[in-house]
């Protein structure tokens, strides 16, 4: 029976400090409550003859004292917890992005270079890793207790989770949102490796075709080239360029939409644009793009998005 959970990521010790602080406060309050209760039970039991003295009439001074103390302590705990939480939602820009797809009772993981894993996740240590996760059916939850992180994986949306592994080793991976019959078997292992080991592992499992390359093939297969042109540069003739927006340089740049809002063209925007194009229509284009919802599997979608992003300058993360 081990009573100790390895703290294998950079934020794990901070979460542990918060939990130990909460534990300390709880034990202190428990000693106060249990101590007073036992003291009164013994000292003021009906048989004892000790002098009870005058009963305190005005109670509000005491009441406001312990209310104020509780409020102060709680506000401090809230701030500490909130600080950790907000940092959990701000992945550093240089994070290595790995795609995770939850499916009823298994985890599929895809690296940029095309390496694929089932119920396993190999990550380098001392480098921030950002998981971009979606689900193909019900809500799952990608949870790594040793890294003190978990986040629900929702169908129809991308959810992100980032951590920076610190100590190499193999740690548990659990699905912690009830997802059906074999929810208990939807587990796996997270292997944190030193940088060189990770590079060697990538080489061994390199399928020879990066996500972007796979995406290019799918781009042709699904007929995107018909409107957006061979390499997404909108077909040669100027007339056609009004049919569909140009794709090179799109990823990461601001896009102005009908209805007046402008948002950044990130993964979620590209996904929405493919699955229900009319929702986030670019200003100046007719809603003629068909919806690919239900036609394109999650893996293909991720690969096509990787390809579109590879057309833009800058990183192909």
């Amino acid at each position: 029976m081990n009573l100790w959970l390895p703290a294998a990521s950079t934020n794990a010790p901070e979460v542990d400090h918060l939990i130990w602080a909460l534990l300390a406060i709880s034990v202190a309050v428990l000693c106060l409550v249990f101590g007073l209760m036992l003291l009164y039970m013994f000292k003021y039991r009906s048989g004892s003859k000790i002098e009870r003295g005058a009963l305190a009439k005005k109670s509000w001074r005491l009441e406001s004292a312990w209310t104020g103390a509780t409020l102060l302590a709680f506000f401090g705990l809230f701030l500490w917890g909130a600080d950790l939480y907000v940092r959990l939602f701000q992945p550093p820009p240089e994070a290595l992005r790995i795609y995770v797809i939850g499916k009823q009772w298994m985890w599929k993981v895809e690296h940029i270079g095309g390496e694929r894993e089932i119920n396993a996740l190999h990550v380098p240590i001392d480098m921030p890793v950002e998981l971009v996760m979606t689900s193909e059916d019900v809500i799952h939850d990608f949870s790594i207790p040793a890294f003190r992180v978990k986040h629900d994986v929702l169908p129809g949306r991308y959810e992100t989770l980032w951590f920076e592994a610190k100590t190499p080793g193999t740690y548990h991976l659990f699905c912690t949102q009830f997802c059906g019959i074999d929810h208990a078997h939807m587990t796996g292992e997270v292997v944190a490796m030193a940088q060189p080991d990770f590079e060697r592992w990538l080489q061994q499992n390199d399928p020879g075709e990066t996500m972007a390359a796979a995406g290019a093939k799918l781009y042709m297969h699904y007929g995107c080239s018909g409107c957006h042109g061979g390499n997404g540069a909108s077909s040669a003739t100027a007339a056609d360029s009004t049919r569909a927006p140009r794709l090179p340089g799109l990823s990461g740049s601001p896009v102005s939409l009908t209805g007046g809002s402008t948002i950044k063209a990130d993964d979620e925007y590209l996904r929405n644009a493919i699955l229900n194009p009319v929702e986030r229509r670019v200003v100046g284009y007719q809603p003629i793009m068909p919806s690919f919802a239900g036609l394109m599997s999650e893996e293909d979608l991720l690969n096509v998005i990787a390809y579109i992003k590879s057309l833009s300058p800058g990183p192909a993360t």
């Binding site: 009573l3 979460v15 918060l18 939990i19 909460l22 406060i25 709880s26 309050v29 428990l30 409550v33 249990f34 007073l36 209760m37 009164y40 039970m41 003021y44 039991r45 009870r52 305190a56 109670s59 509000w60 005491l62 009441e63 509780t70 409020l71 709680f74 705990l77 809230f78 500490w80 917890g81 909130a82 600080d83 939480y85 907000v86 009823q104 059916d137 019900v138 809500i139 939850d141 949870s143 040793a146 003190r148 992180v149 978990k150 986040h151 629900d152 929702l154 169908p155 949306r157 912690t176 949102q177 009830f178 059906g180 019959i181 074999d182 929810h183 208990a184 078997h185 229900n276 239900g294």
Partner: protein
């Protein structure tokens, strides 16, 4: 025992099944919820039996999923939410008010039949095909991917929800309109205040549950996409609507417990309740703030950061009134003349266990810690400490305290104390190891788990046996006391409160003439003056 009590006033089946006497309806409810308590309890015992070995004693995960769902559904909607308000509440509210019955007696009887109908439909769905979604029915699992009788189960809960609304309306209107002459708002016992706060939550939260379950049933039948992202809906909408009801519902479970303990501790410390006004305003504050905090169930569910921050600070605010209550109970015991009868032991058990449950609530309200601790056995232990350690202990305390008034018989004192201690020990043995399991990361609702968690799980399953024995003990000696218990006097505890002015068991019309209230509710003189034999 006076011959013409409400028990002997007509003994045909019809006089019981068509009664509008709040005391008889309370007994009908008491038998019903006891039945549901033991159904839910046996499901829990099977769940713990399965978790003895890492690969699970029950070989099929499907059966295990249906068992813990049954445990959740039956315990939440058919024992914890109704328990105190419908049994002790129905019996005592008119008596404590000095009234002859509740404001709408026929509505009260109708609410029992609704409760029964909802209960049978849910039991039918649980036993026929079983529901495998957990009592939280998260979509799209419950609407698109579940094989169980989810729609039937949801209809059953929908119907029993109206029984809660009816009870809530009855209590609120009765407390407003039927108080005895002289009983101003601040001369009312705290038990009535806590039932008032509970009824406010029942009336205002249950309708949202009704609509949520209706939307869920429509989605499951017609696949209309309200919650299914493939068709444009948002699964988080279901979670928001569900927890908008379900968090106030956990305060529906604990508030009556506060009321009972605030009655018992002054009675057995022979001392006035410390800070009466603070305890009263804390109950009202809990009823209001409990509606603002439901987001803390969804910190990792994918809601926005800002709403998580707002819900976290509000969750800390709702913990303050509960802390104030605990300090006031201790203040009451200070310089008191404490007697250790069974009700007092249960009440002290409540204070201890509820404090531990409440403090672990601070862990999961802190955003940083919640990310690690949520969806693990830490949360399971937290809400069992508050609900089983808190609410069920308070329910047993109230049951023993008012047993002479309800049945006219005294429960066997030594057996009562033995029951209290067994439950206290069995409870800790069952649920304390789960805190450690939760920190180590063992997820909840797992049919099989990794081997390193086995020792703590075996410890917890062993504790379940002691706890089960602890719960069967009162069932035995209370039933025994119905026939062979010593005759109870009208006021065995020399307690204050209008319910102790009438006979036990009280006549059908409660009071010969409506009592007048003159003083504060808890003026207990030190024992030299009021000798209790």
């Amino acid at each position: 025992m006076s011959t013409d009590s409400y028990l002997t006033d007509g003994d045909t089946l019809r006089s019981w099944l068509l009664t509008t006497d709040h005391k008889r309806i309370a007994l009908l409810y008491l038998f019903t919820i006891t039945g549901f308590f033991f159904i839910g309890g046996s499901a829990a015992a099977l769940v713990r039996y399965n978790l003895i070995t890492p690969e699970g004693m029950i070989h099929s995960a499907e059966t295990y999923n249906r068992l813990f769902t049954m445990h959740g559904v039956v315990m939440v909607w058919f024992f914890l939410v109704p328990a105190v308000p419908v049994s002790l509440g129905n019996f005592l509210v008119p008596l404590m008010l000095g009234a002859r019955d509740l404001a709408f007696p026929r509505l009260n009887l109708f609410s029992w039949y609704l409760f029964l109908l909802g209960g049978f439909i849910v039991l039918f769905s649980l036993l026929m095909g079983g529901v495998d979604t957990g009592w939280t029915f998260y979509t799209p699992l419950s609407t698109a991917y579940s094989q169980g009788y989810v729609v039937w189960c949801v209809v059953g809960i929908f119907i029993s929800g109206f029984s809660s609304i009816a009870t809530g309306v009855n209590f609120i209107v009765s407390i407003h309109r039927l108080r005895a002459p002289g009983m101003t708002w601040f001369r009312m016992p705290v038990f009535l205040w806590s039932l008032y706060a509970t009824s406010v939550i029942l009336v205002l939260a249950t309708p949202v549950l009704a609509m949520t379950l209706l939307l869920l049933a429509f989605e499951a039948i017609f696949h209309i996409g309200v919650f299914d992202p493939a068709l444009g809906g948002d699964p988080l909408l279901f979670q928001h609507l569900f927890w908008f009801y379900s968090h106030p519902a956990v305060y529906v479970m604990i508030l009556p417990g506060f009321g009972i303990v605030s009655e018992i501790i002054p009675a057995f410390s022979r001392k006035e309740l410390f800070g009466y006004k603070f305890v009263v305003w804390c109950s009202i504050a809990i009823a209001v703030i409990s509606f603002l905090v439901w987001g803390h169930h969804m910190f990792v569910a994918g809601t926005s950061i800002y709403s998580a921050l707002v819900f976290s600070i509000l969750s800390y605010m709702v913990a303050v009134p509960s802390a104030i209550k605990v300090f006031n109970w201790l203040g009451t015991m200070h310089k008191g003349y404490i007697r250790f009868d069974a009700p007092m032991l249960y009440a002290l058990g409540f204070v201890g266990l509820f404090t531990m449950g409440g403090l672990t609530g601070l862990f999961v309200a802190a955003l940083g810690a919640d990310v690690h601790l949520t969806q693990t056995y830490f949360v399971v232990a937290h809400f069992h400490y508050v609900m089983v350690g808190g609410m069920v202990s308070a329910f047993f305390a109230g049951l023993h305290y008012w047993w002479p008034k309800i049945t006219g018989r005294m429960y066997p004192e030594m057996w009562g104390r033995a029951g209290a201690l067994t439950i206290f020990i069995g409870f800790h043995l069952t649920f304390f190891p789960q805190f450690i399991l939760g920190y180590l990361g063992m997820p909840r609702r797992y049919h099989s788990y990794s081997p390193e968690f086995q020792t703590l799980n075996v410890l917890s399953s062993a504790g379940t046996l002691v706890l089960a024995a602890g719960y069967l003990l009162p069932l035995a000696y209370l039933t025994w006391s119905l026939f062979h218990g010593e005759k109870a006097r009208d006021n065995p505890w020399a307690a204050t409160g209008l319910e102790w002015l009438t006979h036990s068991p009280p006549p059908t019309e409660n009071f010969a003439e409506t009592p007048r209230v003159t003083g504060k509710p808890y003026d207990y003189p030190p024992p030299e003056q009021a000798a209790i034999t």
